[in-house]
Structures are given as structure tokens and as C-alpha cells.
Amino acid sequence: MANKQQSRNGSTQAFLADRSFYVLGVFLFLVIWQAASMLKLFGNDFSEAFSPLSAFLALIEMAKNGDIVHHAVPSLRRVLVSLLLAIIFALPVGVLVGYFRRLEQLTYVPFQFLRMISPLAWMPIAIIMFGVGDVSVTFLLWLVAIWPLILNTVHGAGRVSPLWLNMAKTMGAKDKGILTKIIIPAAIPDMLTGLRLAVGVSWIILVPAEMLGVPDGLGYFILDTRDRFRYDQLMATIFIIGLIGYLLDSANRWLISKFAWKI
């Protein structure tokens, strides 16, 4: 087995070796999935419908009849809208709380308390406040996304070296300059980490949140395929959920590699 240290030093050969192990991982995953269905691990009656092959055929069918687009687009829209609202709210809050120690002390217990509550617990309240539908789902997703964003931004803004602040002051910096040129750039790597965690947890909460009475979305479609006994489509939907989640996370990793400065 090639060890990490060697392959990082990067000949083309090592690069290809690395790649082939990633591909091998995907292949092994499919093999285990197929084996599980052949061994009837999903029960005697439906194990065949759960196999990767039937899922793949269902996927083609859903791509053709438009089911994928019809349900993936509303799901993505909900997640992205709630993330945007969470960013608008959480980053300023995080910077303020991180910068002012008193504010951090005031908010510490409430924040740590609130963040441990599953947003689904708020579901009845969301429905009373906003009714059944998009707004409730978006609210629940927003509620789950703000915590990683706030807490990581707090950490980033709190990590600003006093040395940088002193230096900025001796250079005649005003509050605005200190905020825009020192504190915010200093917190960017942590903000991006927070964003990555927020995207992950939002995408996870999306599926149960969409089971709460919206007429479309991947979470809704899971229940729909179950009700229609189309377990091949159910597996295909699960596959799509995983795939989109993976792509969202990859986009985040790209953002981090592009914009997070290194120490």
C-alpha cells in the first residue's frame, strides 16, 4: 500500500495511484451494496428492488420522466435560500459575539443550549407560526444552519491576535478599518468551516423536514416511492440525496482551498 507521505511528493505515477484508490473505493462500495441485496439483507421480498442495478434503472427512468429535476430543484432551492438567510444573520452575529468578550459571555449558555436542540423539535411551533409548507421547512433549515456558522465565526473573530490590533492602531486604523481589514479577513477560514458544516447538517435535516407536508422535494419523494411500493425508485432517490450532498460538500471544499488563508 502506498503511504501518504510518498504519494504526496507527486510524480504522475503516484497521482494515478492515488486516483485509482479513490475509484476502487467507489467500486467496493457498489460491490458491498450489490452483495447485501443478493444476500437478502433487506428482507426476502424486496431485496432485489434494493440492488444497485435496479436503482440504476430507476434512476434512468426518473431522469427521463423528469422526477429527478421536479424534486431535486425544490430541495436545493430550500437549502440554498435557508443557507443564504442563515449567512446574513449568523456572520454579523458571530463577528460581534467573537469580538466583544462581554457579548460572548452573555450568549455562551443560551447558544450552547439552543444548538443542541434538533430543529425538528421546533416543527410544531414552526407550523403554528408559518403554516404547513415552504416557509416552515426553510425556517427549520435556517435554524439548523445558523449554529455552525455563528459558533465558528465567533471562534474566528475571537482568534484575532491582539498584536494585529495593536499594530493596526499604531498605524492609525479606525474601527471600520480594523473590522474590514483585520477582524473579518482573520475570521474567513472559520466562517468557511462553519459554512461547510452548515451545508452538511442542512442537507441532512432537509429530508425529514420535507416529510412535513410539502408537495415536492426529495424528502417528500422518499415517502411517495414508499407509498407506491417503488423501492427501486426509493433507492435511486437515496442515491441522489447522497450524490447532491457530496457535490455540495465538494463545492465547499473548493471554496475553502480557494479562500481560506493558511497559518
Binding site: 494585529w164 493596526a168 499604531t170 498605524m171 488563508w261
Partner: protein
């Protein structure tokens, strides 16, 4: 106000005036005086070097003048006014590197200019480049701090402060980690800048050669945080190149260094004194 019964008004032409300044720190549960009853007048355009054993409060004294710390007793006056906080008239070069890790050398040096004039593009860049050239980093303008050695970071921090042209330069062991060649360049440059721009420099170091080479006066602090003696350094300038090779100059250089060293040793207590 000085509590030792001296005159209270601003004294004659001193730019910076320390009057009975004491600063205490808590260390292992007991309060110790890092700086103890210091009286010091620094004239405009003076090059004052503060020497003393490690832990004698040299850095603290500098921080008090910079305004990062407030004295527990006594006062620090600047142009007759008490110092209340940091200001752009006093540029501080820290012992640690204060470079921003997300900015390149050029962007770091431009930072102070952005604070003072906003983003001016070419104008800022050219000014920054002048100082980057001066510290010998023009080959590394686009490097990030993480990619640089300690000496490079030190030089970049120096350019970063010098470019803002502060009236008073507070330098806390600025050349400590530099190799001897770069150090010599920096000694020449800092002297040239000082002669050119007529700023006032307060320079902390533990190297006596450096102190004698640069200073108008040398203040020696002892391990109790007091200024035990101030030497006037009337060695002729320039003190670099050919002039430094003259036997007469060399003789007087050594003589002054010996005097300062004896004073430092006398006040060192158990602390270690660095000489070369």
C-alpha cells in the same frame, strides 16, 4: 503626576517625558514592578537605546510609551500631554512578527497606507516597494508569511511600519533574529532613515554593540525595573564602513561598550546578560 515632588509642568524641549512611571505585573501570585519609578526625558530627533538584562522591563517601558499599557504610578507625557492609547504618531516594531497571514509581503506593507490614505493603487504600491527594496525583500513581494523564514518576516514587519513614517519609532529588539549581514544593512538603513526623516527612535536591545553603534544616548535598566544610568554616546557619525575602522574610533567604541557592560552587569542580579 509625579509623586516624588518634582516640577509638574512639561519640561523644556522633551518630546517624550516619563515621570515616576511604575508598572506592576502579577507573577506567580505576587505583584512585581516591571518598571519602577522611571524618570526619562527624550528629546525630539534623539536616538535613544535602552539596554538591560532580560526581564528588566525594557519592553514594558516601550509599551507604556506606545500606549498599549497605562502606568500604575506616574505618567507618560507626549508633547506635554498624557498618553492615553496607541496612535499613528508612534509606530511600534514588535519583537514578534505582526504580519497578517492572509496578505502577501506587498499587501502587508500597503496595509498602513490603506488605513491612512485608503486604497490608492499605484501610489501605495510604489511607496511600499521603496521600503520593501530597502529591507531587501523585493524578490519576495508576492510571498505569504507562511512561506517566509523568520528573518524575512522580521524585515517585512520593519518595512510595514517604516512605510507609515511615524514621528516616533518604537523598536523592540527589531533585529534580534537577523543574520549579521542583514543586521548590518538594517543598522545602516535605520540610521539613514533617522537622519533623513528626523524621527525620534527609542530602541530596545540586549546587544551592546548594536546599542553603541546606533545611539545618541544609552539608558541602562536593571533587574529591578529602574533606569540605573544614562550614557551619552558622543562617538562621531557615520559609524559604519571606513569610519569604523579608524583605531581612535574603535578604541572609543570599545571603551563605551565596556562602561555600559559593567553597568548592565552591576544591575543584572541573577539575570543573564547577553554580550558578544
Amino acid at each position: 503626576m509625579a509623586d516624588n515632588g518634582r516640577s509638574t509642568g512639561p519640561t523644556s524641549e522633551a518630546l517624550i517625558s516619563l515621570k515616576g512611571v511604575t508598572k506592576e505585573y502579577q507573577k506567580n501570585g505576587t505583584w512585581i514592578e516591571a518598571v519602577s519609578g522611571c524618570d526619562l526625558d527624550i528629546a525630539e530627533n534623539e536616538f535613544l537605546v535602552i539596554v538591560g538584562p532580560t526581564g528588566s522591563g525594557k519592553s514594558t517601558l516601550l509599551k507604556l510609551i506606545a500606549g498599549f499599557e497605562q502606568p500604575d504610578k506616574g505618567e507618560v507625557l507626549l508633547d506635554g500631554e498624557p498618553v492615553k492609547g496607541p496612535g499613528s504618531d508612534r509606530g511600534m516594531i514588535f519583537q514578534e512578527y505582526a504580519l497578517l497571514p492572509w496578505r502577501t509581503v506587498l499587501q502587508n506593507v500597503e496595509l498602513g497606507l490603506e488605513f491612512q490614505f485608503g486604497k490608492r493603487g499605484k501610489e501605495n504600491r510604489e511607496l511600499a516597494m521603496t521600503y520593501i527594496d530597502m529591507v531587501g525583500l523585493s524578490y519576495a513581494v508576492n510571498k505569504y508569511p507562511v512561506e517566509m523564514s523568520g528573518g524575512m518576516k522580521r524585515r517585512a514587519s520593519l518595512a510595514m511600519i517604516l512605510v507609515t513614517k511615524p514621528k516616533i519609532l518604537l523598536m523592540d529588539g527589531p533585529f534580534n533574529a537577523l543574520d549579521s549581514k542583514t543586521k548590518l544593512t538594517m543598522h545602516t538603513e535605520i540610521t539613514r532613515i533617522w537622519e533623513h526623516e528626523h524621527n525620534t527612535i527609542i530602541f530596545v536591545t540586549s546587544e551592546l554593540d548594536e546599542a553603541v553603534k546606533l545611539s545618541d544616548r544609552i539608558a541602562v535598566m536593571n533587574s529591578e525595573g529602574r533606569i540605573s544610568k544614562i550614557f551619552t554616546n558622543d562617538l562621531a557619525r557615520p559609524r559604519f564602513g571606513k569610519a569604523a575602522l579608524e583605531p581612535e574610533f574603535h578604541h572609543r567604541f570599545i571603551e563605551l561598550r565596556e562602561k555600559v557592560m559593567n553597568e548592565v552587569k552591576a544591575g543584572a542580579g541573577k539575570a543573564v546578560c547577553e554580550t558578544r
